[in-house]
């Protein structure tokens, strides 16, 4: 499974490309963090373009949970919820 990762502030976001179905909701909510590439799949273009709340909303809007949010201060996965 391929993922795309970039370094961040508090919340780090990753896109699991295999899960992305081009819904583009992440890019609509956090356009300074996510963008659709030439394959029409979401990519992370910046970790600090939008605030943490917006990044989390963008992840929660993904119908396939293709966006993973990790709190870098605690190193815990914030989204999708685990367990």
């Amino acid at each position: 499974m391929s993922t795309q990762t970039k370094q961040i502030g508090k919340y780090k976001v990753e896109v699991i490309r295999d899960k992305c179905i081009s819904a583009a909701s992440c890019a609509a909510i956090a356009p300074k963090v996510f963008e659709m590439d030439e394959e029409d799949l979401a990519i992370v273009i910046s970790q600090d373009g939008n605030d943490d709340e917006t990044k989390l909303l963008a992840a929660q809007s993904c119908p396939t949970m293709a966006v993973i949010v990790t709190d870098t201060e605690t190193n815990k996965q914030v989204w999708p919820p685990q367990g």
């Binding site: 179905i21 081009s22 909701s25 609509a28 356009p31 909303l57 929660q60 809007s61 989204w79």
Partner: protein, 236 residues
């Protein structure tokens, strides 16, 4: 476009069109006005954990204190379960407006062609009504809508009213499981598009499943339609 923001809205009305489709009307509470463009969608929080699902707005932007959604109940997923559990007066949290599938103001084409399957009709209901009634668009506007059976079709009176009121609007339902008495197009929307002469100076708006989008795009490009004139929204 207006960036999306959080809204709270209250379920005001639910119309069950048939055993497959229901229309939900939500009144906006806070903020109480939503500036959106026809074709855009909302993202609804459908679980306590924060999961969201996207639904196209099928009402028109001139009614900015509420929005209507068309829900296909057959997938039976998380979003449908959430919406079906709502009682009248229940409040929901939405992010809106979202989506890029709109009719651009400066679109220099002679015709608009909309191609939908199933619930993909929802944004086109808003877009077509907005172009005809609110924007007085004089261009030829054609809707090809693929469904399985006649009983699944909806808004037939509304489509007929538009056909009668606007001579530049053309409505072509296509049925894949058409009864013998059906006199209009049969098969898939791509079958219908394949046999018709398609205008090349037109913008094509597509909304449906990934497979439908790919198949329709192939048919259109094979018939000489430029990819730049194909605008789409995928539903899954």
């Amino acid at each position: 476009m207006v960036p999306p923001q959080k809204y709270t809205a209250r379920l005001e009305e639910k119309v069950q069109h048939n055993d497959k489709f229901a229309q939900y009307s939500f009144e906006l509470l806070e903020p109480h006005r939503l500036e959106f463009q026809a074709g855009q969608y909302v993202s609804i929080k459908v679980s306590e954990q924060g999961e969201r699902r996207a639904y196209s707005i099928c009402s028109t932007p001139d009614n900015n204190h509420q929005f209507d959604l068309l829900i296909d109940s057959t997938p039976g997923g998380l979003g449908v379960q959430f919406l079906q559990s709502l009682e009248f007066g229940s409040e929901i949290e939405v992010l809106a407006p979202m989506g890029q599938l709109v009719v651009p103001e400066n679109l220099m084409v002679e015709e608009l062609v909309f191609v939908a399957t199933g619930a993909g009709i929802a944004p086109f209901k808003s877009m077509i009504e907005d172009q005809l009634r609110n924007k007085q668009d004089q261009r030829q506007i054609t809707l090809h809508w693929g469904m399985r059976q006649p009983k699944s079709l909806l808004w037939l009176e509304e489509w007929q009213e538009l056909v009668e009121a606007f001579p530049n609007f053309h409505f072509h339902p296509v049925l894949s499981k058409a009864p013998e008495a059906w006199t209009l197009c049969r098969g898939r929307v791509t079958d219908c598009l394949s046999i018709h002469q398609l205008p090349t100076s037109a913008a094509y708006f597509l909304c449906g499943s990934k497979a439908m989008i790919e198949d329709t795009t192939n048919v259109l490009t094979q018939k000489g339609v430029s990819k730049e004139l194909i605008l789409l929204e995928k539903f899954y």
